[in-house]
């Protein structure tokens, strides 16, 4: 099958068909106009990283759309306050755009302070705020002076880069929140960076660390509380899970607070086990190492027999992946490998050059690799490669179904955990139940008539 119709010339460099199609993949660049990119924007990147902070207030300065579409958008869970699940907007109108929105922003902050007692307010500057020139830094400064709380500007106009730029803006906001006047003494705890407690995954990871005797200082940002975040500089080590969004913060923390970081992954049995051992060794406590080993053995003995049951249903099938970041794509390829499945197409919205190099080592030579793909490409390559299942987000789901391809939602709206040992079981179960559903026999039957 020829895919010429599905690939724009501008996009050709962002797609790798095989080992010999050139050196590296074009990525980390602006989306091609008219290509129907699956990406969101800078603001979205910033919001998804900061939103899980449960006792923070998120005020979106701009017209209503941005606040409306991101209201309670992530399935990140809270053990305490629920305030973060609200969406606050200055709801700018025509006149505000003409005369400026600063006054409204000031008044909106006053209204929040009149009825709530937030510990921190994040002010997101969206597209038109960047254009009409509201001085939100000044507004934030004045509000901080007036109310004695942190009011932090997150400059995230949609046009100012990609979603990844938004991650950086969020990391800067976190740094601004947690940087103390004087560096405190170190404790023996660690910070977890880049887990957003989707479906309770942060809790699962913390349970594991508790089992092996590692204390957690701050969760960044799943189920985070402002006071805990402020303790982050006392940690002795940072564990970076979502590398795409959080390596930037980890590097800043390494420099400013002398906290070294290691990268971890809790997707799949092997990654989870390796990560726990790596954490144990990095902490360096003999008891911790001993407990980690025992715990991993115990969990493996529990989980692997169950996974093996699924394996016979999964082996030999072909997977396609289209997800947000490179970290997740890499983890997924490895998990599929553990199931005896082959990844035939893999793409990300915001993967980096490094991510793609790793990916190209993990997949077969003829696997398709895509950066910032669009529906036309996803359609063409899923068909060409004969994918049995697509792992993606909600926008990709209906496309997969139309093409008769099973689907696994690995996005922030998932309602069951996919991290850790239990998450691996859920993942295997979801892959199996979608891919081996009886509907495909019927659908396939119709198509073959």
């Amino acid at each position: 099958m020829k895919n010429d119709a599905a690939i724009l010339p501008e996009r050709a460099q962002s797609i790798r068909f095989s080992e010999c199609s050139g050196d590296g993949i074009k990525c980390e660049s602006a989306s091609v106009s008219g290509a129907v990119s699956q990406r969101a924007c800078v603001y979205c990147g910033a919001r998804v990283v900061l939103n899980p902070i449960t006792d923070a207030f998120h005020l979106v300065h701009g017209p209503i759309g941005c606040a409306s579409y991101t209201w309670d958008i992530r399935g990140s869970l809270s053990s305490g306050e629920e305030g973060y699940r609200n969406s606050y907007s200055t709801d700018l109108r025509e006149t505000d755009v003409i005369f400026g929105g600063e006054k409204k922003l000031v008044a909106a902050i006053d209204e929040i302070m009149a009825s709530h007692a937030p510990k921190v307010i994040f002010i997101y500057a969206t597209c038109i705020v960047g254009v009409i020139g509201d001085d939100i830094d000044a507004v934030c400064r004045n509000a901080e002076a007036k109310y004695g709380i942190r009011v932090i500007a997150v400059k995230s106009p949609g046009f100012s880069g990609t979603k990844k730029t938004g991650y950086k803006m969020a990391c800067n906001a976190i740094m601004s929140l947690v940087t103390p006047d004087v560096l405190p003494e170190k404790t023996c705890g660690v910070n977890i960076l880049g887990d957003f407690n989707l479906a309770g995954e942060m809790w699962i990871i913390k349970n594991y660390l508790r089992r092996i005797g590692v204390e957690v200082v701050a969760n960044i940002t799943g189920d985070a509380k402002v006071e805990d975040l402020k303790q982050a500089p006392t940690a002795q080590l940072n564990l970076v899970q979502c590398a795409g969004s959080m390596t930037y913060l980890a590097k800043q923390m390494e420099e400013a607070f002398s906290i070294p970081f290691i990268k971890v992954s809790f997707f799949g049995v092997t990654d989870t086990s390796d990560s726990l051992m790596r954490i144990a060794y990095a902490v360096g406590d003999k008891d911790v190492i001993k407990r980690a080993k025992a715990f991993i053995e115990e969990e493996k003995n529990r989980v692997i027999p169950l996974l093996n049951k699924y394996r016979k249903n999964l082996e030999g099938k072909k997977a396609a992946i289209y997800v947000g970041g490179g970290f997740k794509a890499i983890s997924l390829i490895r998990q599929f490998h553990e199931f005896g499945m082959n990844t035939v197409m893999v793409g990300t919205q915001t993967g980096s050059k490094d991510d793609y190099e790793v990916i190209s080592h993990l997949v077969d030579e003829d696997a398709v690799i895509l950066d910032d793909a669009n529906p036309a490409e996803l359609e063409a390559f899923m068909k060409e490669m004969g994918a049995d299942i697509l792992v993606g987000g909600v926008k990709e789901r209906p496309l997969a179904y139309k093409l008769g391809v099973a689907f696994c939602d690995h996005n922030h709206e998932r309602k069951h955990p996919l991290a850790g040992y239990e998450g691996t079981l859920n993942f295997a179960s979801e892959i199996n139940l979608s891919m081996n559903s009886p509907v495909w026999e019927i659908i396939g039957g119709i198509n073959n008539v």
């Binding site: 106009s33 008219g34 290509a35 990119s37 969406s87 755009v97 008044a107 990268k263 080592h361 359609e379």
Partner: protein, 904 residues
């Protein structure tokens, strides 16, 4: 009361204009929509539409960047149009502006003119819509796109006998219904827009990414010659209305109607269609109307209990309010997030009339409102029902007010594309949903409500209004007064409070120790395989070493020294404590003499309980756990393979009967002795899951203290290896049911037989003596080896040596790989040039590596390889997980060392 803050919108009850335009363009044949603005807008809109319609939704973006924002987005938009045409070959393109494009002042008409000028052969019809997000909501955006369509398409003014139908934002299923009605009247019509197929497609063997259905441009061109326009929206402003546009420019007479929901608004449409077609209303429709009337009567009394909050787009709110009012469901809130001041005037009379009949004091009509206000008003006005889109779900979740989802968007249910609300049939579907939601509340709660209101003969424990304490208090009192045998420093209440298994609070602070002294078992449960003694599983009946009673006593003393909060000593197998009663007795006696304050607990299957219950009490055992999986021998027979009793092996129901009889009489004896009894029950899906409540009821009547319903832990090789495992939710549902009868244990951790510590931190490993080592053929090195690894992510050896700015240092000892530290080095290679300086750099790197035995990297040049090897540092190139790579490399070094030593 309305808080409706002026400067702050909390939880928006609206979306933005481009959302409306995107929906409208999806009803045009072979049309694609591009949003002129930054990338996020189109993605958000696609996401929202995709979950509602369950269809692929492709909307392009001109992906404006910083540069486009400053210098104008013409270039971006033109490239966008070109790309869109290449990918989709559309016949129509709708260009919707966004906040950004409007704010920077893009002149779209001009850009489109330039596009046609530079693409003279292009036949695609481009329709621009000004749709700044701040200019209105999706409701206005939808109509504005329709108006843009009729005003940009070149009209053919030749008169014909067709009528125009312009719809509001209705579901694909409702659109199909509307077409069916028009067909029944035999009318020729042009429906604008028609998203019935594009957003609710049939499954086909080939998929077309371009929406192939919808209203074709060739039809739209004829709208100017139609004999009439029916516009199914009566709240849009005339200057935004496509119907008014067609009238003003082409003289097409128009009539605006409410959305045809409910009797009266559907009647209005049918009468108009009858008039236009000069035909009586078809029999089929007359019957539908009759059935709706019948249904209205059937449900009217239930409906009067409804206090409903209706929110959404103005058209929807008007018609939904009228449907509710004619059925006696009182709307206490009628709210729209759009700015629609005329809403009040349209529905005020309806509301006030019904409020008078039902003596409802207060209701509100809210305009330009957010959900924060709707939420506050719903609570204030006692709404017991909500009607609208799924954005009301947070209020539903928070306050338990049920939400009927029947408008766009629906994110948390399936079938948004099939929502039916229009016509008599749609009204009936909606009304049934409303009535049934009311009935569910009434039917589900009336027993409880009446019991709580009127029952006054004793504590109201049936539905948990008051705690049921009597039974357990009796046991406690009895114990206090009648046990002179063992002088106890702690009362049994204190012991229970301090027992981590019996008190949830204690599970956080107090530690317990299980002594693995009982190897034998006298029954065979189908979920258990006793021959495996696995040191790494945590479940009842698993332990590493069996201890003699004396050794157990020694271990107790050792642990007590290190774990001062040790308050409980238990015997939980790995077999059955009473099948090994000699050992149990001995161990308990030894410890009791040493420390009379310890709380003893024993767990057992209960088979031998009638024989040892009294003695257990004498030995100071205050808590006994009995595993009772069934109180019906027929069910028990499925759970127990055999029972060994008095020298005989029993099978089937005979076995289960003996076990059950002994359990029950044993429990009775224990309770008579004042011992606290906990009942464990393993949930076996399909076997005893529906029977557990019966078990709990039975043991509750006997005076047991607490019940612990546990999930099955599947054990390989056991008969129940493949049994479905109950989910946490299922377990908790069973616990909730049983909780009505007997206190439930929600914090069980299913400890090992030799567990030590608090419930959530098993530290028994620290006390285990002979940790099993796996035998393998790996060569164990007397000395450790150290490796430097280049890695980007810290997970894999995935970096070129020259590119590394840091090294991961790992140690290898006893076939174990341990992460040591990260060392920062300067990059050895910084590009093609400055190769002269490499000499110095590699010198620095060598220093950083001088304590390493090897380096593992993905790729490395010849020169650094030689330098490293000359220093005795082995070089390995691989692409692997770090841990695996280190093991492989270490084995290679060790093997080569052995070879050189001549031992291999």
């Amino acid at each position: 009361m309305s808080k409706n803050l002026v400067n702050l919108n909390i939880n928006p009850c609206k979306m933005c204009m481009p959302m409306g335009t995107a929906n409208a363009f999806y009803g045009i044949q072979k049309c694609m929509n591009i949003l002129h603005g930054s990338q996020g807008c189109s993605t958000y809109i696609r996401r929202h539409m995709a979950t509602h319609y369950n269809e692929p939704v492709d909307i392009a973006s001109s992906s404006l960047t910083e540069e486009g924002t400053v210098y104008g987005g013409e270039k971006n938009l033109i490239i966008g149009l070109e790309n869109l045409i290449k990918l989709y070959q559309p016949e129509v393109i709708g260009v919707s502006t966004t906040c950004l494009a409007e704010t920077i002042g893009e002149d779209i008409e001009f850009i489109i003119k330039n596009f046609y000028a530079s693409h003279p052969d292009e036949t695609v019809k481009i329709i621009p819509v000004k749709s700044a997000g701040y200019g209105g909501t999706q409701f206005e955006g939808f109509t504005r796109a329709l108006r843009a369509i009729v005003s940009h398409v070149e009209m053919d003014t030749a008169k014909h006998n067709t009528i125009n139908i312009i719809s509001s934002m209705i579901s694909p299923a409702d659109t199909r219904y509307l077409k069916d009605v028009l067909d029944q009247f035999g009318l020729d019509y042009i429906l604008l827009p028609d998203l019935s197929e594009n957003l609710d497609g049939v499954h086909q063997s080939s998929y077309y990414r371009l929406p192939m259905h919808g209203t074709p441009i060739s039809e739209i061109q004829k709208m100017a010659g139609a004999r009439a326009t029916i516009e199914l929206s009566d709240t849009i402003k005339p200057d935004e209305s496509p119907g008014v546009y067609l009238y003003e420019n082409y003289g097409v007479p128009y009539k605006r109607l409410n959305l045809p929901m409910g009797l009266r608004d559907t009647d209005a449409l049918m009468e108009l269609l009858s008039e236009l077609s000069k035909k009586a209303i078809p029999e089929k429709i007359v019957k539908e109307r009759g059935r709706y009337l019948d249904g209205m009567v059937d449900s009217h009394k239930y409906n009067a209990l409804g206090r409903i909050a209706i929110f959404g787009e103005p058209d929807f709110v008007v018609s939904a309010v009228r449907l509710c009012c004619e059925n006696g469901v009182m709307p206490v809130i009628a709210a729209t997030g759009s700015a629609c001041p005329q809403l009040k005037e349209k529905i005020e009379a309806e509301l006030s009339k019904l409020a008078d009949v039902l003596f409802v004091d207060n209701y509100v009509i809210l305009n330009d409102v957010d959900f924060e206000t709707i939420e506050a008003e719903a609570l204030r006005l006692g709404a017991n029902l909500m009607l609208g889109n799924s954005d009301g779900r947070r209020i539903e979740e928070k306050h338990g007010i049920p939400l009927i989802r029947c408008a766009f968007p629906i994110h948390d249910r399936i079938g948004g594309q099939r929502v039916r609300t229009l016509g008599y049939e749609g009204s009936q579907v909606l009304l049934d949903q409303i009535t049934n939601t009311i009935l569910k509340t009434v039917e589900g709660g009336f027993r409880e409500t009446l019991y709580n209101t009127y029952y006054n003969e004793g504590p109201k424990s049936k539905y948990g209004l008051e705690p049921e304490t009597e039974a357990q208090m009796k046991v406690l009192e009895y114990k206090k007064t009648t046990d002179p045998l063992t002088p106890q420093a702690q009362t049994i209440e204190e012991k229970t409070a301090n027992h981590p298994c019996y008190s949830c609070g204690a599970s956080q602070k107090n530690a317990r120790m299980h002594l693995p002294i009982a190897p034998k078992c006298n029954i065979q449960c189908n979920y258990c395989v006793r021959k495996f003694d696995c040191p790494n599983e945590s479940r009842p009946g698993v332990t590493t070493d069996i201890l003699s009673p004396e050794a157990a006593f020694e271990k107790y003393k050792l642990v007590k020294e290190k774990v001062p909060n040790l308050t409980v000593v238990g015997i939980a197998g790995p077999g059955d404590a009473l099948a090994n009663f000699e050992q149990t007795r001995k161990a308990l006696t030894l410890i009791h003499e040493h420390d009379p304050n310890v709380t003893f607990c024993v767990s057992t299957n209960g088979l031998m309980l009638p024989y040892y219950a009294k003695e257990l009490a004498k030995l100071g055992v205050s808590h006994v756990t009995v595993t009772v999986n069934a109180v019906d021998p027929a069910i028990g027979a499925k759970i127990y393979k055999h029972v060994d009793f008095m020298g005989n092996r029993y099978h089937g129901e005979a076995a289960a009967s003996i076990l059950l009889a002994n359990q029950l009489s044993g429990i009775k004896l224990l309770i008579d002795e004042g011992v606290i009894v906990k009942i464990n029950t393993v949930t076996l899906m399909g076997i005893n899951d529906t029977h557990i409540e019966e078990v709990v009821k039975t043991v509750k009547d006997m005076g047991c203290f607490i019940s612990n319903v546990m999930p099955l832990i599947p054990v390989k090789g056991s008969a129940f290896e493949g049994l479905k495992i109950a989910t946490n939710r299922e377990i908790n549902a069973i616990r909730d049911k049983c909780g009505v009868h007997l206190k439930q244990m929600y914090h069980c951790k299913q400890c090992r037989a030799d567990a030590i510590g608090k419930l959530d931190s098993d530290i028994s490993l620290d006390f285990r003596e002979n940790e099993a080592r796996s035998e393998s053929k790996t060569i164990v090195s007397p000395k450790g080896l150290r490796f430097a690894i280049t890695s980007k992510g810290g997970m894999l050896v995935d970096q070129h040596f020259g590119q590394a700015s840091e090294l991961y240092i790992y140690d290898y000892l006893d076939d174990e790989v341990q992460f040591k530290e990260k060392r920062v080095i300067g990059k050895y290679c910084s590009g093609e040039e400055e190769c002269d300086e490499k000499e110095d750099k590699i010198g620095t790197i060598l220093k950083a590596l001088n304590d390493c035995d090897g380096t593992i990297t993905m790729r490395i040049g010849d020169l650094p390889t030689k330098r490293l090897e000359s220093k005795g540092i082995k070089v390995f190139t691989t692409y692997d997980r770090i841990e695996d790579a280190v093991k492989t490399a270490a084995q290679e070094i060790l093997k080569s060392e052995l070879r050189t030593a001549g031992n291999f």
